[in-house]
């Protein structure tokens, strides 16, 4: 039984499918070899790991077969037996298989290869499994039947449950991905004065300061200032995470030294990039004495010394789908996190009551591993945690909005001709919000990814409007302002004109999925023009590229407006921390600062006059 996470090899490919970095772990490979020898049979035997050229060949073969680097994911008519999409599971876009040296007649199947795409790089990691797992998967993708029934046939689910190494490999892949594109960073912690404070290295250098031993090298890597909210949330335009990818070449030495420390034998033991690079760059001195009474956790190689304080930042992200239709309820959810930075000497425990749990509509709450989780139930919950160094996410939560949506109203867009649309917004911002909040910005964007905006008419009741090639942006609130508890009403009507529609070339993946419809012969005017909208709609969707399985819906198929905003002030989710109730043990005096901010995630106003995606909301 292999319960751990062992990695046989990893490869990093660039967007031309060339291996630009590879690492094999002989110790793990030896294990695989031994277990293969035990289970060896006619149709199963040990194969050496492919070299880089063989691997990149196999990868681009799969890409050809499966339409894209990730693949189809679900079984489509192009899927062939033996391929990943034959298994008919979306996760095969992430856990892939490759056939190596197929032309030599040896069916060398590599599975499970964890595929993580970051920037221009594809990171593939091959964790160790048992031969039976590989055989099972091979059966699954070679079955001649029509696909497994849920919970009844041999399924990928059972395999994945059985293989923590896949989960671990993903965590490794993500970390490596962040490193190769230079995004390995810590969560943001906001102090009232400055927008954010630095990370672990700041802490280290700040605390040690000039007084540090001269022999110690100054950290080379400067602390990461830029930040993104971890996860997939889309932040406001002002903070748009402009792609940094591709601009810098892969720093192989950084990667090698990270791998050497994080998983020297292919067994990952510590993936904290900041800790590892701190150890690499600063090392330890005789001044770093271990604590006398208790063990120093592995995730806290250094202890803080200096001025003590604790900072908390509550960060709500609001996701909303606003329909303004009677038959479809709006959906508003909040995901968020509490970030923390505890600059405390020694190894103290911090205790934090979760008194707000009673009132906030929290659906889920998960914690940093350093936290002692209270026995669930009851209102008097509290968590106790022993904080690591630097910024860290103390907890994540999912919640429903405890107040009304911050931006309400409707958006209507109606195509009056093929190249001209009339639109109308009627919005009310912060309606029903009693407590004043600081709004840094609030922008409404009408994206038209498939049309080129030529011009627009109309003046909003408030704010300014500008347009880019593919969108019209309405900045309702441009400068930071503090709401007074009264709602802001905003209307904006006008017309937007587009360049004439040009049929776009189908992307190859789309056309691959397309049936052999003889479009020119079928071109259907279907009688008189029923309606301009329908006509344009029909025209537009004809060469609509398919959405990725990672998208929630085909964004290009709909008309909608997105709202982005950032507010400072109490959270919408109802989560709050009272500085007075935070206690530290052993007791010490440290100021506690709490800040909260709310940003928008997917905040969408659907065109009331058009089609919109929906999902059933169970009447719970």
């Amino acid at each position: 039984m292999l319960s751990g996470c062992y990695i046989r090899a990893l490869w990093i490919l660039n967007n031309q499918d060339f291996v630009i970095f590879s690492r094999k772990f002989p110790v793990v490979e030896k294990r695989w070899h031994v277990s293969c020898l035990k289970e060896s049979s006619d149709d199963f035997k040990y194969h050496m790991l492919p070299n880089d050229s063989g691997f990149s060949g196999a990868f681009s073969d799969r890409k050809k077969r499966e339409g894209s680097a990730r693949g189809f994911g679900v079984r489509v008519s192009q899927s062939v037996k033996g391929s990943d999409s034959w298994v008919d599971d979306p996760i095969t876009r992430h856990v892939i298989s490759l056939y190596v040296n197929k032309e030599e007649g040896e069916n060398n199947l590599l599975w499970p290869l964890v595929l993580h795409i970051k920037g221009p790089y594809s990171i593939l990691i091959l964790p160790l499994v048992e031969p039976r797992h590989l055989k099972s998967y091979s059966r699954m993708c070679n079955t001649s039947d029509c696909g497994s029934a849920i919970g009844a046939d041999e399924s990928l689910s059972s395999l994945l449950l059985d293989l923590p190494s896949i989960t671990g490999a993903f965590a490794v892949a993500q970390t490596i991905g962040d490193i190769v594109v230079g995004e390995a960073m810590e969560p943001e912690v906001v102090v009232a004065a400055s927008p954010s404070v630095g990370g672990l290295l700041d802490t280290l250098t700040g605390s040690i300061g000039i007084s540090s031993i001269s022999a110690r090298a100054k950290p080379v890597a400067s602390p990461v200032i830029a930040f993104t909210i971890s996860g997939t949330t889309v932040t406001g335009a002002a903070m748009s995470d402009a792609p940094k990818m591709g601009s810098r070449p892969l720093d192989k030495d950084v990667l090698r030294s990270f791998i050497a420390s994080a998983m020297p034998f292919g067994t990952p033991l510590d993936l904290s990039y900041s800790n590892i690079s701190a150890i690499k760059t600063t090392g330890f001195s005789s001044a770093d004495v271990p604590p006398a009474d208790r063990k120093q956790p592995a995730w806290k190689p250094y202890l803080y010394r200096g001025k003590q304080r604790i900072l908390f930042t509550i960060h709500d992200t609001v996701h909303a789908a606003m329909y303004d239709r009677d038959e479809i309820p709006d959906s508003i959810t909040i995901s968020g996190q509490v970030n923390c930075r505890a600059e405390l000497e020694g190894l103290p425990d911090v205790s934090l009551p979760l008194t707000w749990l009673a009132s906030a509509r929290v659906e889920s709450l998960t914690f940093h591993p350093c936290a002692q989780v209270p026995e669930h139930g009851g209102d008097k919950q509290a968590i106790t945690f022993s904080p690591p160094l630097g910024n860290f996410v103390l907890m994540h939560y999912q919640a429903l909005c405890s107040v009304g949506p911050p931006i309400k109203g409707f958006y209507q867009l109606s195509m009056v001709s093929e190249n001209e649309g009339a639109f109308l917004f009627r919005l009310s911002v912060m309606e029903g919000y009693k407590i004043p909040r600081t709004i840094e910005f609030c922008t409404v964007t009408m994206p038209f990814p498939r049309r080129r905006v030529v011009s627009f008419d109309g003046t909003p009741s408030i704010g300014t409007v500008s347009n880019t090639e593919h969108s019209v942006d309405w900045k309702i609130i441009t400068n930071t302002r503090i709401t007074s508890g009264k709602s802001i009403e905003a209307t904006f009507s006008g017309t937007v004109r587009f360049a004439p529609w040009q049929a776009q070339r189908m992307p190859p993946s789309g056309s691959a999925l397309m049936g052999d419809e003889d479009s020119d012969l079928e071109s259907e005017s279907s009688g008189s023009l029923v309606n301009v909208e329908d006509y344009i709609m029909e025209k537009m969707i004809k060469d609509l590229p398919a959405a990725d399985l990672e998208d929630p819906f085909n964004r290009q198929a709909y008309n909608y407006a997105t709202v982005s905003f950032k507010m400072i002030g109490p959270s919408f989710s109802g989560i709050s921390i009272d500085p007075k109730s935070v206690s530290i043990f052993p007791a010490l005096k440290a100021p506690i600062e709490v800040s909260a901010q709310v940003t928008s995630g997917d905040y969408i106003l659907w065109n009331t006059l058009g089609k919109c995606p929906v999902a059933a909301t169970p009447q719970a």
Binding site: S3, V19, K24, F25, M48, D52, G73, V74, R75, P90, H94, S144, C146, G147, S148, A149, I150, G151, A152, E154, S155, L161, T167, F170, A171, T233, R256, A260, L269, D270, L271, D288, P290, K295, Q296, A298, P301, T317, H319, A321, T333, F367, H368, P369, L513, M514, G515, E517, D518, L521, E524, A547, E550, D551, N554, G601, P613, A615, A616, A620
Partner: protein
């Protein structure tokens, strides 16, 4: 071992070498190393001072990689490596990263090179050295500067322990004490080392002697020796449990370890749990203890820790009983947490499904608790499509559980049934209905259809009882409705629906589902479709319907017919291409039906459709193809058609053709090879007369002037052009003076006037009337005679020896019989038969070999009725009709040539046996002019008979008369000949023979007894009947010739005949007369007057073509005397 130190490589060389190695493996290393040992090369470079540390690290990694190659470095190298390592470790100037990496790489090389099976192959001393070195490093707990190196050394030891279990068993007590004293952050590595070592001890149970107690070390840490266990490879009986103290100690160790996870990193916890769970199992620890210690893992936001918890949960399912809901809820929340990378959210759903599969089983309560959660499985709007797909899977799973449980369910006040789950769930991807078919939503929706559909009938389920249950289920019903509705509304879905059905059809277990869906579409979708150009998009569905033999084609044919009507109506100059396009598509369906359908249900509808297309479709090509298909449908039996039309795909239920290859293949060296010689073709392909000749004609009279060339009129070519004749006529007329010049009116069919008596003129008129209706073959199509034949061929020579029919089934046999296609028979003859048109047979099946036929008859008796067998026989013959246009009525031979295709497309050419043509083939009824009413035909014949009889009198007064033929350009004269023949046959035999062979030519029957006899026979009809009372008068008036003929015979006839005739006439009573008029093409006549007595008959013969008498004699003998 290199005898000479290898030439050192420069840093850039190293870089290139390593790059080369990574790219293509060890094969290209030679040009860098020059044959030197690669590990040695590495070692020497690492020890050099001038190489930058980064490169040294790189070389160390390369050394690791290289150790994966097939040939492990020998033990001496390991020693050298160890020495080098020692020197680096002890060097104060080498930086820690190099030391760390050197430790790691050395350990890796040791692990991969050493094999415990052969006592480390002499590698034990270096291994001991390495362990000793590592132990020295870790034996300084809490030491500051090298703390990280200590961690690395711990990990190296752990890897060695993992590779060689129980390597460290004897020093476990030291490890424990080290672990307890270490307080820096590297304590994790000590903990992991300890837990791994303890686990191996517990698992492998080395002998008691070596580890007496874990708290009291009996063996010093260094020097290190391989434990006896590793050398002996014998596990002792484990005595911890019996030895209370040891057991307690061990529990203490575990208890100590259980407190550690809080200090470990996430991955550290993973490793730790990997050791602690089997340990807990082995030591039979309370699972509740684990539960308390590790529950927090579930509530961290690290998916990996959740997974580790699940691993433990699965191990101790019983202990965690009651916690299922909590675990499932947590997983559900995990998948909702949008800050996680999508893959973890997907994994969470998979884990949940995996857990369900593990835990649910047949437990009703657990099923219900899952159903209670079903509302939480609904996809939400912002879930990525991949998650929507998996959540829909969960709903499909619930729907299966619901159908298992059966009764109605109420979840949180909402009634839940499968259909509701299905419809609600599908809402999240409902845009599949209008988005283009290649969209992801569509793929997800149809994937869900599939999951819901087969949920009740998984592949692993061998029972077939679920079939009816599934078809009757609500979900199936709802799904079908949804498919029909969506497809009728959105034609874009057609390719997807087709792919979906194909997928089901391709599955051995669920092909019936696909068929069922096709039937549903056939039944419900087809009537909904509008008959307009949009219908074109639905053809892929039609294609599937037409391919499936289990779906009745009538609905589709009906629809296509109406679509065809629509196309015909809409056809105009602008949309010719469209019409062609759709027409071709319709034909495509027809073709598919021809290929795939059995049974006659297809025939009527399809032929109707094809006929309509042939007749009405505006496009020529479509019409042509339709005609082609129609001919195939009618002319060629089913299986052969399938083979012809099949363009390569394997047909279901149709065994691969025994005579392999379709028409589209290239010709192959063939089994017909020997048949290309014409002689052998005749031995297996037969053409035979349908009705054999009475006279086996072995000769034919050939007169020198009987030109076969129509351009050279022969002596007997009685027809002349009437132009020269006209001149004659003119002359004649001039001479006679009272004729009217009429040759400027060539179309007026009147002969030259001549002075003759009333009777003669009546005769002449009668003859004129007759001759004018005879076509002049020189200027127009002549009269034709038809000879019916049959064509058949033996299949035996056409089938390989090995492929002889083995199947017992007659039906199969027909399939296996070879066939000939597109047979063209061409005919030539030396006899004057004019040009003979060729004959075409589209298809002919070979007849089975004789022996086999007998067998088959015996075999098939049980199943096939005799009639069936007969029909089958008949179907193996093709009727052939040879049409001759004789220039002379004479027997002859017709040579037959064949040109045809075999099954494999090979062309067969050759001559068959000739067909003999007898005189009786020339017998035709006289042509009746158009102005004769039907009722008057018999009397016309009688009159004609009489006239001809008269005219064929040798000295007839009409002898010099000429008669114009049809068209007016040719004229003919009659020069008669007479003959008699006495037949000594009883009257009954005679009448029978006449009825059988000459019935159409009888024009008159005279004499009461004879009339009675003939009438009762019923074969001869529509002739003039005359009774005996009028006999005498007839003799005088209507048939004077007979009397005079008899008389004449007496005077001038030849003696013999005369004698016979008189004898007979004298000896027997005359029963009656029978007059027979035979027309011989192109323009001759043969007249019989039968004077019938009881036992003999006198046949008086007259003809205007005397050579035929030569055959008539034989013919009459054959006719009556056999």
């Amino acid at each position: 071992m290199a005898g000479m130190p290898p030439k050192p490589l420069s840093p850039p060389e190293w870089d290139s070498l390593i790059d080369d190695y990574n790219l293509d493996g060890a094969t290209r290393l030679h040009r860098w190393t020059g044959g030197a040992s690669v590990p040695d090369l590495c070692l020497s470079s690492i020890l050099r001072k001038d190489i930058p540390i980064q490169l040294k690290l790189h070389i160390l990694t390369f050394l690791e990689h290289h150790s994966l190659e097939d040939s492990p470095p020998p033990p001496p190298f390991l020693l050298r490596l160890l020495d080098a390592l020692r020197s680096v470790i002890q060097s104060p100037s080498d930086p820690f990263p190099l030391k760390d990496q050197f430790l790691i790489s050395t350990t890796a090389v040791f692990v991969t090179s050493l094999s415990e099976t052969d006592e480390f192959g002499g590698g034990a001393p270096p291994l001991c050295g390495l362990v000793e070195l590592l132990l020295t490093i870790i034996n300084r707990p809490n030491h500051s500067l090298d703390r990280h190196t200590r961690g690395v050394a711990c990990e190296c030891l752990r890897q060695l322990e993992l590779a060689f279990p129980c390597l460290l068993s004897e020093i476990a007590p030291h490890l424990w004490s080290l672990c307890q004293s270490e307080r820096t952050h590297v304590s994790q590595w000590y903990v992991l080392l300890l837990s791994t070592a303890v686990l191996n001890i517990v698992k492998l149970k080395p002998s008691e002697a070596s580890i007496a107690s874990i708290s009291n070390a009996t063996i010093p840490l260094v020097p290190f020796n391989l434990p006896q266990f590793l050398i002996d490879r014998v596990g002792a009986d484990f005595v911890w449990k019996e030895n209370e103290i040891c057991y307690k100690e061990l529990r203490r160790v575990v208890a100590y370890l259980l407190d550690c996870p809080q200090y470990l990193t996430s991955f550290g916890v993973v490793e730790f749990m990997g050791a602690i769970i089997p340990l807990a199992e082995e030591l039979e620890l309370q699972a509740s203890l684990l539960k308390v210690q590790f529950s927090w893992l579930l509530f961290t936001f690290k998916p990996l820790l959740c997974h580790v918890f699940l691993g433990m949960y699965v191990k101790f399912l019983d202990s965690f009983e009651g916690q299922e809901f909590e675990v499932a809820s947590r997983l559900l929340l995990l998948c909702k947490e949008s800050h996680h990378h999508l893959v973890f959210r997907l994994l969470a759903l998979h884990w949940m499904l995996g857990l369900f599969a593990l835990t649910v089983g047949e437990d009703e309560a657990r099923k219900r608790s899952i159903i209670d959660m079903s509302l939480r499985f609904y996809p939400t709007i912002f879930d990525p499509l991949a998650m929507k797909a998996l959540k829909l899977d969960l709903l499909a799973y619930c729907s299966r559980l619901l159908s298992d449980i059966g009764d109605a369910n109420v979840v949180k006040g909402v009634e839940v049934d499968e259909v509701k789950l299905f419809k609600d769930g599908l809402l999240s991807v409902s845009s599949f209905k209008w988005l283009p078919p290649w969209n992801t939503e569509t793929a997800v929706a149809f994937r869900t259809f599939h999951k819901f559909l087969i949920g009740g009938s998984p592949h692993s389920d061998s029972a077939t009882s679920s079939v009816s249950a599934l078809t009757e289920s609500n979900i199936f019903d709802a799904l079908q409705k949804m498919l029909v509705e969506s497809t009728s509304e959105f034609k874009g879905l057609v390719p997807v629906v087709v792919a979906f059905i194909d997928r089901l059809l391709g599955c051995h277990k669920h092909c019936w589902l696909g068929e069922h869906l096709l039937k549903t579409l056939d039944k419900h979708l087809l009537p909904k479709l509008n008959k307009n150009y949009n219908l074109g998009s639905y053809f892929p569905i039609f294609e599937r319907i037409s391919e499936n033999d289990h779906v009745s084609p009538s609905g589709l044919l009906n629809l296509l017919l109406r679509f065809m009507v629509f196309l015909v109506e809409k056809h105009g100059p602008d949309n010719g291409l469209r019409s062609w396009h759709h027409g071709s598509k319709i034909l495509g369906i027809c073709r598919t039906m021809l290929v795939h359908h059995h049974g006659s249900s297809l025939f009527t509808g399809l032929s109707h459709l094809l006929v309509s297309i042939c007749l009405f479709f505006p496009d020529l090509e479509v019409r042509d193809s339709a005609r082609f298909y129609l001919r195939m449908l009618i002319g060629i039996p089913g299986k052969k058609v399938k083979h012809i039309l099949n363009t390569g795909e394997q047909l279901p239920g149709l065994s691969p053709s025994t005579h392999s290859g379709s028409f589209f293949n290239l010709q192959s060296p063939s089994i017909f090879h020997d048949l290309t010689k014409s002689s052998s073709i005749a031995s297996c392909i037969y053409i035979e007369r349908a009705k054999s000749l009475l006279v086996k004609q072995s000769w034919s009279l050939s007169l020198p002037n009987f030109g076969t060339n129509p351009d050279l009129p022969g002596f007997f070519d009685g027809i002349r052009d009437n132009e020269p004749a006209g001149e004659e006529q003119v002359l004649e007329i001039t001479m006679s003076g009272d004729t009217i010049l009429e040759n400027d009116l060539p179309h007026q069919q009147k002969g030259p006037l001549r002075v003759m008596d009333a009777k003669n003129s009546e005769i002449v008129n009668e003859l004129r009337r007759h001759f004018i209706s005879i076509p002049d073959y020189r200027h127009m199509p002549g009269l034709k005679i038809q000879i019916s034949c049959n064509l058949r061929f033996d299949s035996e020579p056409l089938v390989d020896e090995g492929e002889k029919y083995t199947a017992a089934n007659a039906f199969d046999r027909e399939d296996q019989l070879p066939a000939l296609y597109a047979i063209v028979l061409t005919f030539t003859s030396s006899a004057p038969y004019g040009a003979i048109s060729s004959f075409h047979i589209p298809f002919l099946l070979g007849s089975p070999p004789k022996s086999d036929k007998l067998l088959s008859q015996a075999d098939s008796l049980a199943i096939v009725s005799v009639e069936n067998g007969h029909v089958e026989e008949e179907s193996l013959k093709a009727p052939v009709c040879i049409e001759l246009e004789p220039r002379e009525p004479m027997p002859g031979l017709v040579d037959v040539f064949i040109e045809t295709n075999a099954d494999n497309g090979q062309v067969i050419k050759g001559q068959l046996h000739s067909i003999s043509v007898g005189i009786e083939d020339m017998f035709l009824r006289a042509i009746v002019p158009d102005d004769i009413a039907e009722d008057d035909v018999p009397s016309y014949y009688v009159n004609l008979f009489n006239a001809l009889w008269e005219a064929c009198e040798t000295a007839s007064s009409t002898g010099r008369e000429t008669f114009a033929l049809k068209g007016g350009r040719g004229i003919a004269a009659i020069s008669g000949t007479r003959s008699v023949k006495l037949l000594e046959v009883p009257v009954t035999t005679l009448v029978e023979a006449i009825e059988r062979h000459l019935a159409p030519f009888v024009v008159c029957v005279i004499g009461e007894p004879l009339v009675g006899m003939v009438k009762s026979g019923g074969v001869i009809k529509d002739v003039i009947w005359k009774d005996s009372s009028s006999d005498s008068s007839l003799d005088i008036t209507c048939s004077p010739t007979s009397a005079r003929g008899a008389l004449y015979l007496k005077y001038f006839g030849d003696e013999e005949e005369d004698d016979g005739g008189t004898q007979i006439t004298a000896g027997r009573e005359n029963i009656g007369y029978c007059h027979i008029l035979i027309f011989l093409p192109p323009r001759f006549h043969l007249l019989f007057q039968l004077e019938i007595r009881d036992f003999s008959t006198l046949v008086r013969i007259r003809t205007d073509h005397w050579p035929c008498l030569a055959y008539v004699d034989d013919y009459l003998e054959a006719l009556f005397l056999e």
